[in-house]
């Protein structure tokens, strides 16, 4: 799939902007830092996920003083054209349209456009806490099928309800607390098992692909350490419903849910070394790239069309060898790339645009 055209109005620093990227190959967006290059990629990614890949709240995406922002894109999915549009409002309730038809629910937009984002802080995917890795899996699941979004929000909502109840109970298991906990446990168990089965299945599919992409982007000596391996590690054994029952006394005492999909881990090894704690910074960077590439490859395989690649200032964080390796490993399809400096040798942009003072210049 590819973007034919992108329009922004009152999005972040842009009052009005239009971008026509190359349908195939590299579209480079250059400009000094702080000019708003990343905002363009953020807008494209917003249409794919309905949130900012930089973790910014919705109202931060609306230009200061404007009543709302609009992101509109013309997308080509294997010859089928889609005009998709999101109007971001300060209340957080977006209005979304596909082919000028308003969608009843905002989340119904998911599935219209898929993207793979490479961000400068991707290192946290390997080095940071487990929540970044769970988010990585969950984003890929939604790209694979929008129904996973409903499961994820259900798990999230049930957890909020269960935790609120645990806090209110103040450690006392009255008959009403017990009866309602039973209900939330049942709901968390059924949605949680569904989510975890999907995450585990995805991890199994990703592991060999990540091993192969790591081989492509890892440079020089460390390859000798052995293959990359991924494993999904749930925070409990056996059926979730039983684990929740077993944890209940503890949960009541602590006022939070201590087992469930929100406590799980996606573990990664390079050879025999746990990547998070034992790999070098260089290896961790390569692994982060490999995970992004692997996700992209799995989604491409299932959807039979590659997501749009969004590369946000990635080369600034990579040494020349790793930059060249990433460039060589980039799959075919459309890629939008931002850079404040130059490009690694061998990069052949199909289109280049410059950002200056909130405007796009050819």
């Amino acid at each position: 799939m590819h973007l034919d055209r992108l329009w922004l109005s009152d999005f972040r620093s842009y009052e009005a902007a239009e971008l026509v990227p190359a349908p195939e190959g590299l579209t480079v967006v250059s400009g000094a830092n702080g000019e708003g290059k990343t905002n363009l990629l953020e807008a494209v990614a917003y249409l794919a996920s309905l949130r900012s890949f930089r973790g910014a709240p919705g109202e931060a995406l609306i230009r200061v003083g404007a009543p709302h922002a609009v992101v509109r894109a013309e997308v080509d999915r294997a010859g089928r054209r889609l005009l998709i549009e999101a109007e971001l409002r300060p209340s957080g309730r977006d209005r979304v349209q596909v082919n000028r038809q308003a969608l009843r629910r905002t989340r119904d937009l998911l599935g219209s456009l898929q993207v793979t984002v490479f961000a400068p802080d991707d290192l946290t995917l390997v080095k940071g806490g487990p929540s970044a890795r769970r988010q990585y899996l969950d984003d890929l699941l939604v790209a694979l099928h929008p129904r996973h979004d409903a499961t994820q929000s259900e798990v999230e909502r049930v957890l909020r309800q269960r935790n609120a109840l645990l806090k209110q109970a103040g450690g006392r298991a009255t008959p009403d607390v017990v009866a309602t906990l039973d209900v939330w446990d049942a709901k968390l168990a059924s949605a949680g098992e569904t989510l975890v089965a999907a995450r585990a299945g995805l991890t199994a599919a990703l592991s060999p692909v990540a091993a192969a992409t790591y081989e492509q982007v890892a440079v020089s000596a460390p390859k000798a350490r052995g293959a990359v391996r991924l494993a999904y590690q749930p925070s409990w054994d056996g059926p979730l419903l039983e684990a929740l029952a077993a944890a209940r006394t503890d949960d009541l005492r602590r006022g939070v849910t201590t087992v469930g999909p929100h406590r799980d881990e996606l573990a990664a090894w390079i050879g025999e070394l746990p990547a998070r704690t034992h790999a070098s910074q260089g290896e961790q960077r390569s692994l982060a790239l490999a995970l992004r590439l692997a996700g992209h490859s799995v989604v491409t395989g299932r959807l039979e069309t590659p997501p749009v690649l969004l590369l946000d200032d990635v080369f600034s964080e990579l040494d020349p060898d790793r930059s060249a390796a990433l460039l060589a490993a980039l799959p075919a399809g459309q890629a939008l790339l931002t850079t404040a400096g130059g490009l690694p040798p061998g990069a052949r942009p199909a289109v280049t645009v410059r950002v200056e003072g909130g405007k796009l210049l050819d």
């Binding site: 629910r105 409903a150 259900e154 909502r157 049930v158 909020r160 309800q161 269960r162 609120a164 109840l165 209110q168 009403d176 009866a179 309602t180 039973d182 209900v183 939330w184 049942a186 709901k187």
Partner: protein, 202 residues
Amino acid sequence: MYAAPVQDLIDELGRLPGVGPKSAQRIAFHILKLPADDAMRLARSIDVVKRTVSWCRRCFNIAEGGDDAECDICRDDRRDPTVLCVVEEPRDIVAVERTRDFRGRYHVMQGAISPIDGIGPEQLRVRELLARIEGEGVGEIILCFSPNIEGDATGLYLASLLKALPVRVTKIASGLPVGGDLEYADELTLGRALEGRREVDA
């Protein structure tokens, strides 16, 4: 700070559901600008509704009259008293009535279980429901909640509570748009969901 009467109005409006401080301020200034007649009409309708409308003492639907009022449906002796359709809010009765497929009576829980909003079983009309099953010879309870997490949870809770009683507990068939409210379901879909109700195995 505004003059005390204005601030009082803003504070009162801000207590309404879904009205934040900003909206409360906007509505207050809108009311200030209204012609006196229009503003008094609003005040009067609030006054009238509070004096003449209350909850049905039997099913907790909206009813005209004082504390011992009964709603039109409970007073209608052509309605089958042995089948109770249990809903969250009076607006859901309107949705079910639109289908014209249901000839039994209702019980309004006046909410759904939602700890985030501070609502547990004790805030709902659970005891009153149990009393009616005993006292009115109810043979079937149809759980008819919105297809969202809180509606499901309330249904599950009641189903397990009613398990011990000699009453058939059914649940409307799935097929309503998930995550929505009952009131948004069209009458054909809701009618079919009622028709296809199934026994709950709690």
